[in-house]
Amino acid sequence: MRYAFLLYGDEVGAAALRAEDRAELARRHRELAGALDRTGALVAGGLLRPGATATTLWPASGRLTDGPSSGGQLGAVYLVDCADLDEALLVARRFPCSPGLSVEVRPARAA
């Protein structure tokens, strides 16, 4: 089954990280992605640029706003094939600990 992993963190805390800690975190993300890729479980995903760099489109009005739609704490999105929810939760626990990290896990349908 396919699961989506939404990584929410504390952006302020993350921004306060030293450059080398940030680089280390990114490296560990790539490492985990690589490990999941080698087992064939990784479908897609990666780190997102910070929320401040986002542009949000509001279709009803056609307006564009700078920044994320909400919260802004979403830092990464992954799609991983797992046998079941238990396995998905194990995968969720493997993500590198960035400040205030929460990993939301939800079944996803391929689109």
Partner: protein, 114 residues
């Protein structure tokens, strides 16, 4: 350059759709996918199941993880799905974002991937 188009939705609005409206919206998404494939820009994508079915693993202190039922935040707006597009620049990503089938209350957040 990979960009992610994240569709933020009001889940109750989607739950209130008739079957016919759902089919219509689904067909529009299929057409959107076909257009992206034809243009050679389509990356991975997914439709997320409702946030009520989510579980969240929260890291409080190093090694201290707690699993809670439900999404990260109990907000009106939740992530409904996403499309990754491989395009030349931000403007092109935005152009695709404008073509995403949506309901009036939705928003589409566009970000580059790292």
């Amino acid at each position: 350059m990979q960009h992610i188009l994240m569709l933020h939705i009001n889940e109750s609005a989607y739950a209130a759709l008739t079957e016919e409206q759902q089919s219509e919206l689904y067909a529009e998404h299929m057409a959107f996918i076909a257009a992206m494939n034809e243009a050679g820009v389509k990356g991975p994508s997914a439709q997320l199941t409702p946030s009520t079915g989510a579980r969240t693993v929260r890291t409080r202190a190093k090694g201290d993880q707690l699993v809670t039922d439900g999404p990260f935040a109990e907000t009106q707006e939740q992530l409904g799905g996403f499309y990754v597009v491989d395009v030349t620049d931000d403007d092109e990503a935005l152009a695709w974002a404008r073509r995403l089938p949506v309901l009036p209350g939705d928003s589409v957040e566009v970000r580059r991937m790292m």
